[in-house]
Each structure stands twice: as structure tokens, then as C-alpha cells.
């Protein structure tokens, strides 16, 4: 069980309001990702849930019970930190055993859970090493192991992958997703990386300056972003945003088209431009298109390899049913 409900939660540091009144429900067993640019309050929100920061006003309910005044240890949540926060002078085994030791669980049960976690996380060979002798990915797994053995109501992850290199990050992303499928425990995951959010989440919470901009499944956010901020934040490469006469044609202040929803045609495209930098990924090619008269620069995604050079003229056709329209306040027009 692990349903977390925030009711009218606020947080102030001195006079600075970091979290304005906020309501959110994280359902039991759900993988929820808080995503947003740095300084948007997503880590603060996680720390409020964990109890490491006191909320200024409002209520936090865990499984329907008021947890606002309960100490972090008693909330039944486990947290994985960005720096892993392993205890450097203890072996991996002792690190993993620490929360159980504090809870006074008997030795046999401790060992059983350690073995189980070590097997699940491929740590069996490293149990007697110190954290200093492990690689970044292994340390991360130890931190997760330390969280698992507590059998918490929910896991809290605070940017757990940002200290890993790109290849390892993809691997760990998969491992955490699989862990979630296996344990079916509530997980709350904070990241600034929208790719992590899209690939792992059941539910994404997009935050900006403490405000929740939109809550929804990854594809809901991708298909129907509620405003320009979400439209620009979700999806890679970024959505092209166009203002001015072209937008007025669609009865909107701003229109947005994702790079993958623009077709390159030989002649007579609706829009025209000059090819700038081309990013060849093999499977796809991203063209930066200049001088379209619509926006400073537009990005177009083409499947496979395309033979266009720097400076070539390019004809573009947006797919009419994939144009997002926004009003002058930046809100989506249905």
C-alpha cells in the first residue's frame, strides 16, 4: 500500500514561496515522475513528502492517514539520493542492513532480505566491499538495495541517475522500471530529464516554479499539452513554436508543430527554408531549418538518412491534424 495525497501543501524558505498551494494524489503502485527545469521545486516537493523538510501549511496523507507531523523514519518511505548517500565506512552488506538494524529486525531475517536484494540487484559478489571500491552504477544499486530491504510503502528517487554516464543511465533506467513492475510499489521519481520521465512514468507531473503545469500519462502530455510550457518541455527535439500571421491563419496566438510531424517534400511545400546543421543519428536525421520566416529556427525530424546539405533549400509540409494551437495566455485551444 502506498497512496500519497498532498492537500493544499505550501513551502516557504524565509519569505520565498517555493511551493504555492498544491494538491496532488499519487495512487498506490503508480510510478510518478516529477519533471521540470532546475529550481522548479521538484526536489523540495519530494523532500516534503519524505519529511526531510517541514511543510509550511497543508496536509500530507499516506494511505489516508495524516503524516504531516510524523518523522521521516516512521512514514514508511525509502529514499534514494542523487549522491547515493552510502555510508563510506561500512561494507555493502552493512549499508543494506543499516535500516533493518535500526528497526531491530532479527539477524536471520536481515540476512534473508540482504541475499534477496543482492541477487535481484546483481550485488552478491560485492557484499563485502566498501562503497569506495564500487563503480557509480554499483553504488546506485546498493542505494536501491538499502531502500528495498525496508519494504517501504513507497520509494522516493531524487535524480538518482544524474551522476551516471549516458550508457549506464539507460541501463539503470530499465532496471528501475523492471523493479517497479516486479514490486508493484508506489514510486515517486524526480528528474529534470524529460526522456527519463517519458520512458519510465505511469504519470508525469510537470512543475514550473512550484506550480503544477500538467499531470497525465506520458502520451497524454505528448499529444495534448495543456500549455506552451508543457508543449516545449515534453518531447525531444523540442516542439517548434510559431507566432504571427501563420498562427493567426489557424485562429491562434501561437501554433506548435513537433519536428516529427513535419514532412519534407521535394517541391511546393507549405513552408520553405534553408538547411542549417543536420544531426545524423542513423535511424533519424534532425535538420535545423533557417529563414522560414516563421520562427528563428525550426527543427525537422526525418526518418532514416536524407541527402540534404548545409545551405540547401528545403520544402516542408506540417501535418494539419498535428498542429497544436495556443491562445495569447499560452493555454491550449481545443
Amino acid at each position: 500500500m502506498g497512496q500519497i495525497t498532498l492537500q493544499q501543501v505550501t513551502k516557504k524558505f524565509g519569505d520565498v514561496q517555493v511551493i504555492p498551494p498544491l494538491d496532488l494524489t499519487i495512487e498506490d503502485g503508480e510510478f510518478t515522475v516529477f519533471v521540470g527545469p532546475s529550481g522548479c521545486g521538484k526536489s523540495t516537493l519530494l523532500r516534503l513528502i519524505a519529511g526531510l523538510e517541514d511543510i509550511t501549511s497543508g496536509t500530507i496523507l499516506i494511505d489516508g492517514e495524516d503524516a504531516t507531523a510524523i518523522s521521516p523514519a516512521k512514514r514508511g518511505l525509502a529514499m534514494v539520493f542523487q549522491s547515493y548517500a552510502l555510508y563510506p565506512h561500512m561494507s555493502v552488506r552493512k549499508n543494506i542492513a543499516f535500516p533493518m538494524r535500526m528497526a531491530g529486525i532479527d539477524k536471520a531475517e536481515q540476512n534473508r532480505r540482504i541475499e534477496q536484494a543482492a541477487t535481484a540487484l546483481n550485488l552478491t559478489d560485492y557484499l563485502d566491499r566498501r562503497p569506495g571500491q564500487l563503480s557509480g552504477g554499483q553504488r546506485q544499486r546498493v542505494a536501491i538495495g538499502r531502500a528495498i530491504v525496508r519494504e517501504p510503502a513507497a520509494f522516493l528517487f531524487d535524480e538518482p541517475l544524474s551522476n551516471l554516464d549516458a550508457a549506464l543511465r539507460v541501463g539503470m533506467r530499465l532496471e528501475i522500471s523492471e523493479l517497479h513492475k516486479r514490486l508493484e510499489t508506489t514510486m515517486v521519481y524526480v528528474t529534470h530529464d524529460q526522456v527519463e520521465a517519458m520512458t519510465m512514468a505511469d504519470k508525469i507531473v510537470v512543475l514550473r516554479a512550484g506550480f503544477i503545469e500538467q499531470v497525465g500519462s506520458p502520451l497524454e502530455l505528448y499529444r495534448t499539452p495543456r500549455n506552451i510550457f508543457v508543449a516545449g518541455f515534453i518531447g525531444s527535439p523540442k516542439m517548434n513554436l510559431i507566432e504571427g500571421p501563420e498562427a493567426t491563419k489557424h485562429d491562434a496566438h501561437t501554433i506548435g508543430v513537433r519536428p516529427e510531424h513535419i514532412d519534407v517534400v521535394e517541391t511546393d511545400g507549405l513552408w520553405q527554408g534553408r538547411v542549417g546543421v543536420a544531426e545524423h543519428l542513423g535511424s533519424d536525421t534532425f535538420f535545423h531549418v533557417h529563414d522560414t520566416g516563421l520562427a528563428e529556427m525550426m527543427t525537422v525530424r526525418v526518418a532514416g538518412e536524407v541527402n540534404l546539405r548545409h545551405g540547401d533549400r528545403i520544402h516542408l509540409n506540417p501535418r494539419a491534424d498535428q498542429i497544436h494551437r495556443f491562445d495569447d495566455k499560452g493555454l491550449r485551444i481545443q
Binding site: 521521516p72 523514519a73 529514499m79 549522491s83 548517500a85 552510502l86 555510508y87 565506512h89 543499516f98
Partner: protein, 288 residues
């Protein structure tokens, strides 16, 4: 920095400093060693020739020898315990965010800047004087008989004075060590259900172990040779005669340079013995 030319140039440039330091150390050491085998009484006939190990035998068999070694170890041990324990407590206190932190930190460090002679005089006359001292007034205020600190509790008084001087040093080093502790580790321990005392025992204390060994090592080396505090307060009476003070008395009060030198050589050996012993512990701690 690793070419042949740069390495020999480095050696050449370091040479003057090394030679100077070596001379500074070796000349007095050799002279002490030389005198320790002679009967040398400056005011009673001067150099009276070689006597072999007689000075050593006399120094070690003197009734003042073992009590002086004991007094030395009691002072060093007592000061170490007090400075480390209170140093940790003060460091934790100073690490808390509070108003006027900068000024408080400077005030805490201040005793370290006071010369040993001066601080001992201040303690002796201002605090521990049995008639006019602040402690005497405090005792009288509560209706108790004032303690004659320096004669009735001479060792305790000395340990208090020296600890007061060295506490800032310990606090400073331990404070920097505490500040380098990753706060996420403490938060992780908090989430793991460790109450404050366990967090201190399992996370903070192991983190401080290196700093503590450094404090112990450096302080031991300096504390073995404290002199001014004893000279100014008890003059070595009431059981406060340390090894250093005993050597001083042999050389200057009894005017027996040979006997004092033999004691000096013993002090050097003792200090090295303790230093090597401590270094091995520190080495082990620094490896981890």
C-alpha cells in the same frame, strides 16, 4: 615536473632548506648526546670528564623519575580526552546555523592566540587564586570553602589550563571535518530510522575518526613538552613535575648539564616512540 633537469633543479633549490633544518635539529641533538655521557657541572668545576652511562643510571634511578613520567602521561592523556570530547561537542554546536556565527567562531578560536605564559598567569591569578580568584568568589557565594586550586588540585588545575588553550585547535579541525560531512548521508540515516544519537554514532563519529587522529597526534607532540604553564603556576611542586620540568630542574636548578642531557635523550626517545605508535594508527585510519 618530471624531466631529469627539473628534478635535479628541484633538489638543488631544496638543499639549503634541508641543510638548515637538518643542522638545526642535529647540532642540539648531538650536543645533548655528547653531554649526556659527561660529568659537566658549570658552576662546580665545569667539565669533569667522561662518565659513561652514569648519568642515565642516576636519572632513571632517581626517586623523581617515575612520578615525572606518570605526571606527563596524566597531563597529556587528560588534555587529549577533554579537548577531543569537548572539541566534538563544540564543533557540532558551531556547525548549527545561528545568528552571529562568524563572531562566535572567532571568539572560540581566541584562546589559541594567547601565549601559554600569559594564559597560565591569568588562570592562576584571576580564576584560581584562593582569596581573590573568581572561583573563590563563586564558592563563597554558595557558602562553600574556596578550593586552593594549585595546591589541593594541582593536576586538575593544570589540565584545565592546558585544555583551555588547546580546545580551540581541536574544535577548529573537528569543525572543518564536520562541515565536510555529506548532509545527504545524515538524511539517508534519518530516513533509515536512525535516531539522533545513532546518527552521531554510526555516521558522524566514523566520519570524524581521521580528524580525531590528527588532533591526537599533533597535540600529543606539543603536550609532551609543555613547560610554561607549570613554571608559572606550581613550579613543579604538588606532583606536577613532568619529564620536561624535571630535566629543566636538573640542568638549571641543580646545574648538572650531564644529568639533564641524559633525561633529554630519554624524552626524545619517548616522544619518538609515541609518535611512531600514533603514526601507525593514523596511517591505518588514513588508508580507509
Amino acid at each position: 615536473m618530471a624531466t631529469k633537469a627539473s628534478r635535479s633543479a628541484a633538489r638543488l633549490m631544496m638543499a639549503p632548506a634541508v641543510v638548515l633544518l637538518l643542522g638545526w635539529m642535529l647540532v642540539p641533538l648531538c650536543m645533548t648526546l655528547y653531554f649526556s655521557f659527561k660529568k659537566y657541572l658549570p658552576l662546580r668545576g665545569g667539565d669533569l670528564g667522561w662518565v659513561g652511562f652514569e648519568n642515565y643510571v642516576r636519572f632513571f634511578s632517581s626517586s623523581a623519575f617515575w612520578p615525572s613520567v606518570q605526571a606527563t602521561l596524566v597531563i597529556v592523556g587528560g588534555v587529549l580526552v577533554i579537548t577531543v570530547v569537548f572539541g566534538i561537542l563544540l564543533a557540532i554546536l558551531l556547525d548549527q546555523p545561528m545568528w552571529g556565527q562568524g563572531i562566535v567562531r572567532i571568539l572560540v578560536i581566541a584562546p589559541f592566540f594567547v601565549m601559554p605564559t600569559v594564559s597560565a598567569l591569568v588562570w592562576k591569578n584571576m580564576f584560581m587564586d584562593p582569596v581573590n580568584g573568581l572561583f573563590a568568589h563563586l564558592w563563597k557565594f554558595f557558602g562553600a570553602t574556596p578550593i586552593e586550586w594549585l595546591s589541593q588540585a594541582s593536576m586538575t588545575s593544570l589540565i584545565i589550563i592546558v585544555s583551555w588553550q588547546w580546545l580551540p585547535f581541536a574544535t577548529l579541525i573537528l569543525l572543518t571535518a564536520i562541515q565536510s560531512l555529506d548532509s545527504e548521508q545524515l538524511e539517508a540515516a534519518e530516513m533509515d530510522g536512525a535516531p539522533p544519537l545513532s546518527r552521531f554514532g554510526y555516521i558522524t563519529l566514523p566520519h570524524l575518526s581521521r580528524a580525531i587522529t590528527v588532533v591526537v597526534l599533533i597535540q600529543t607532540i606539543f603536550l609532551l613538552s609543555i613547560f610554561a604553564e607549570i613554571f608559572v603556576t606550581t613550579q613543579g611542586s604538588f606532583g606536577t613535575k613532568t619529564l620536561t620540568y624535571l630535566i629543566y630542574q636538573r640542568v638549571l636548578e641543580s646545574q648538572n648539564v650531564g644529568l639533564g642531557s641524559a633525561g633529554g635523550i630519554f624524552a626524545v626517545i619517548l616522544a619518538n616512540f609515541i609518535a611512531i605508535f600514533l603514526m601507525r594508527i593514523v596511517g591505518k585510519n588514513l588508508d580507509a
